[in-house]
């Protein structure tokens, strides 16, 4: 490993080769334990993200999932990549008893989230705690039929699939594995703040700052932790907000109401073996509201939940925060 060590404001963190770019409509960070493999790792990650974007992006008219959404009620052949993404989305719904539902696409469209978020009208004024919709669609993941043997998907007309709750984290898992394999060293990949690792971690572990917004500076309010392996995801209702029909909306939909969830939690971070599992848990926690801490504890997942009053709740062995020495 060619990385030098240096003490920093964040502890004795190593200086590690890091590349940043944009994909899937968000920021990508690739960090390795060895700079020699960066070119190969980046190429592998970019290739995989391009394939995932082509298969799973709801905002691309030419994507596979857009074609399926446009022709619901018919059995459609899908690629192995999209089938894997759909299977994960259905798994998420099963494991969360429907709190994370891939069929909330229509509800998101009704909430005004019908194009890439960066193209939406920014929220006006202070965020509203509660948001309302006059038109709502109740989703239903059980209506989606996947035939793995024949590689087909079928769902009733009127359903729009959205893989936003799972695909990005799943992409991070795949990208980290691809980067580690290509570079032959430890790798961390962050896609929009959903972080996956693979291979050997650096001394002291992978340093991660959990905060509201993944685009924040590492000194933003939050907590710095280290993970030796696995993944970490953070979801927040404070970040991806926009104005629609006079209301401030956000992207976490309660499948039972078809409306953005009422904000019990502002930001939830969860560590898990995979980024997909971590992000399933963070999304479900935002939907579950006050029931989230006990549910996360039952799942034995380390988690940190920040409410709108600034209070922090931790479960599952999430490390306590330490104040600086005076």
């Amino acid at each position: 490993m060619g990385a030098a060590r240096s003490g920093t404001a964040h502890g004795a963190a190593e200086r590690l080769p890091t590349a940043r770019w944009e994909a899937l409509g968000t920021n990508v960070v690739l960090r390795l334990t060895d700079p020699e493999g960066m070119a190969a790792a980046r190429a592998a990650v970019q290739a995989d993200l391009t394939a995932i974007d082509t298969a799973c992006s709801r905002f691309r008219a030419d994507s596979e999932i857009s074609r399926i959404n446009a022709q619901a009620s018919r059995s459609r052949k899908v690629s192995a990549l999209l089938m894997e993404a759909l299977e994960l989305a259905i798994k998420a719904a099963e494991l969360t008893d429907g709190d994370v539902d891939p069929t909330v696409g229509r509800a998101l469209e009704l909430a005004g989230y019908d194009r890439d978020w960066h193209q939406l009208a920014p929220p006006v004024g202070e965020p509203e705690r509660d948001v309302t919709l006059t038109a709502r669609v109740i989703s239903g993941w059980r209506a989606v039929t996947l035939d793995r043997r024949n590689g087909t998907v079928r769902m009733p007309a009127g359903i729009t699939l959205d893989l936003g709750a799972t695909a990005k984290a799943w992409a991070a898992d795949r990208a980290a594995a691809a980067a580690a394999a290509a570079a032959g060293c430890g790798a961390l990949v962050s896609i929009g703040g959903d972080i996956a690792t693979a291979g050997q971690s650096p001394a002291g572990g992978w340093q991660i700052r959990v905060t509201d917004d993944h685009r924040s500076d590492p000194s933003a309010p939050g907590q710095t932790i280290a993970i030796q392996s696995g993944a970490l995801a953070t979801s927040s209702t404070a970040v991806r907000r926009w104005s629609h029909a006079g209301h401030t909306m956000h992207h976490i939909i309660d499948p039972r109401t078809g409306a953005p969830v009422r904000d019990t939690w502002r930001t939830v971070s969860v560590a898990a073996a995979s980024c997909a599992d971590a992000n399933i848990a963070t999304t479900a926690a935002l939907v579950r509201g006050a029931r989230a801490p006990s549910w996360l504890a039952e799942q034995e997942l380390p988690a940190r939940l920040l409410d709108w009053q600034g209070n922090i709740t931790t479960v599952g062995g999430w490390p306590a925060e330490r104040a600086l020495a005076a």
Partner: protein, 155 residues
């Protein structure tokens, strides 16, 4: 007459025996066919609770789909995260937090302050870079060496 009656009875018993065997075989086949039809026609419901969700009180309902890599539970990390000994300088004001009944906060008597929502950095969509859906081939600049933590936040 007596011999004839015995012979007739034996023949009838043999016939009955053969008929019974055919009926049993037919029942087995019919049961299999009907089971297959029913399995294809109706969604299943998993009533077995996983170890980690035994107290959740909810069924994990299965659709007709196979879930591929599904393990039935959300997997915890092999190791829990660890905290860092130093924090950025401006996040030092302790404030009462509301730890749950879980163990981690209880072990830490002075949890760190989290700034009030209004004081936290608000998202600035207009300042965000334009989305690039396609990972267009980019010149790969030499990677920077960084020691700052990677940020995990909402997106």
């Amino acid at each position: 007459m007596r011999i004839h009656t015995t012979h007739t009875r034996d023949a009838a018993l043999r016939e009955l025996n053969r008929l019974t065997r055919w009926m049993i075989a037919g029942s087995v086949v019919l049961t299999g066919v009907l089971s297959d039809v029913a399995a294809s026609a109706f969604s299943g419901k998993t009533t077995k609770h996983s170890a980690k969700s035994k107290s959740a009180g909810t069924h994990k309902k299965a659709s007709k789909t196979s879930t591929g890599t599904s393990t039935g539970v959300l997997k915890a990390p092999a190791q829990t995260p660890t905290t860092q000994t130093e924090e950025p300088a401006h996040e030092s004001a302790p404030k009462e937090s509301a730890p749950s009944s879980e163990s981690a906060p209880a072990q830490e008597p002075a949890p760190e302050h989290e700034s009030a929502p209004a004081q936290e950095s608000a998202p600035a969509p207009e300042a965000a870079p334009e989305p690039t859906h396609e990972a267009a081939p980019e010149p790969a600049p030499a990677p920077a060496e960084e020691s700052a933590p990677v940020v995990s936040g909402g997106s």
